[in-house]
Amino acid sequence: MSSFEPYETESGLSRRAVECIVALLLCAVAIAVLWDSYGRGAGWDGGPQSGFFPARMAWLLLAASAVVFFQGLRAERGILVTWGQLRQVSMVLLPLTLYVLAIGYLGIYVASVFFLAGFMIAFGSFRWWTILAASVLIPVITFWVFEMQFEVPLPKGPLEAMLGF
């Protein structure tokens, strides 16, 4: 997928660790599904019960992720993702999480203004007026398209309520 050679000297999360952690998480998912399915009945009662298929799939998932786990233990040492890369990713993931959280309170349009502006400041080198124009205009256009033209109500917050929408 991506090439890691240039970063070989940098430190980061090793492939081995990530493989094993993901495999363990998948095992946990499988066990939760098994617990849920057998709780409802996963047998064959004149045809499969509601837990029958999920339980079979969960056994399969459990077995396959166990194999992945042991393969992971034997994987060669190597960096899957460097700390620097991980920092880049979390620099989007955290604001994105905040954005989704803010949608619930401010509505999608106001939240988008902050999100767009923040993103452009953090990752771009735009002049301040470009940032201002883009981060305000894009949500306004979106509002016009969705709320006024297509009449699709999206999550709105106190500002829109104040303006009478």
């Binding site: 009449e151 699709v152 109500p153 009478g164 929408f165």
Partner: protein, 327 residues
């Protein structure tokens, strides 16, 4: 200055309240099902009528919220306390979803506006089926091995409830096969993959007219009133009731509208008035006839009494059928 503005605003509000209330922004008609279903069509027909006759200066928007089999839509209505710009359309699911899923919401959390119609239910068979009456059906069901294949839309919903009601009275075991929708069940009946199905008239009328399926009887106390010919030789009024053939079980499904709780009586009155205007138009009557819905507008206390009685009936029936969660 500020105080003057406030006083002005209060004055404005009181004059507004004194005169009739009207929506100040677009009104959402929330449909707790996906696009294309019977509830969706009703909402869109209303929307079309309101728009065409100019009953409101503000636009009415249909919003589909099918999440959690309508539970999400009901929870949202509960949260929108006091918001007079949200309507929800309902059918029997308004009792059944909370009862079956234990979502903490019921119609008592809303402001009833009006019932607009009652939907009929019928028993349908393939056009070439030898079953011609309820007694034929009872006989076929008792002789069938494996048990008779009865189809309907959804599991533990109104179709299965109706099947349970009918066949427990007939005293015959059945295999109820749930499909994703009533329309799908109708197609399966046309293809002879099931023997009987329970469906609203609107879900089966196309196949009936095409000579693929045939109504055995309707599960209403009275025959359907529409006398215009639907097929070459039959009208809805020619279909017998199941009662005429000795079956006591009856079932009808309400179609109605609610506002969130906490709205003012003026706001409620506005929508009651609007619904009365809508249901008086020829387009609405045409819509009812096309779907063989029974015209039955109830508002105010009438509507609440109906809801209470209907809810009790569903609770009882669901308990007997074992649809209530045990834990």
């Amino acid at each position: 200055m500020k105080r003057a503005a406030l006083a002005g605003a209060a004055l404005l509000l009181s004059t507004l309240a004194a005169s009739a209330w009207e929506p100040t922004k677009s009104v959402e008609i929330i449909v707790p099902f996906g696009p294309g279903g019977a509830s969706d069509q009703m909402a869109r027909t209303m929307q079309a009528i309101i728009q065409k006759h100019g009953f409101s200066k503000e636009s009415f928007i249909v919003v589909n919220k099918p999440a959690a089999t309508g539970g999400e839509a009901m929870m949202e209505m509960k949260k929108s306390k006091g918001d007079p710009h949200k309507l929800i359309t309902t059918s029997s699911t308004i009792y059944m979803t909370p009862l079956a899923t234990k979502i903490p919401v019921s119609w008592h959390d809303f402001t009833p506006v009006a019932m607009v119609a009652q939907d009929e239910f019928g028993l349908w068979v393939n056009a070439e089926s030898p079953i011609k009456s309820v007694s034929d059906l009872a006989k076929a069901a008792k002789e069938a091995h494996p048990p008779l294949k009865v189809g309907g839309g959804g599991s533990k919903r109104e179709d299965e409830l109706v099947s349970f009601g009918v066949f427990s009275e007939l005293g015959a075991p059945i295999s109820y096969i749930p499909y994703k929708s009533g329309g799908e069940a109708s197609t399966q009946l046309a293809g002879n993959h099931i023997v009987v199905e329970t469906n609203n008239p609107s879900e089966d009328v196309a196949n009936w007219r095409a000579g693929l399926t045939r109504p055995l009887c309707v599960l209403s106390p009275k025959r359907i009133a529409y006398t215009a010919k639907v097929t070459t030789d039959m009208a809805w009024s020619d279909v017998p009731t199941c009662g005429e053939q000795g079956l006591k079980f009856t079932y009808n499904m309400l179609r109605g509208l609610f506002l969130p709780s906490g709205v003012t009586p003026e706001q409620q009155a506005y929508y009651v008035d609007l619904i009365e205007k809508v249901t008086a138009t020829p387009e609405w009557k045409e819509y009812l006839e096309r779907n063989a819905l029974k015209a039955d507008v109830r508002t105010g206390k009438d509507y609440v009494d109906f809801l209470n009685a209907d809810e009790a009936k569903h609770k009882d029936l669901m308990a007997k059928a074992g649809f209530l969660p045990t834990n």
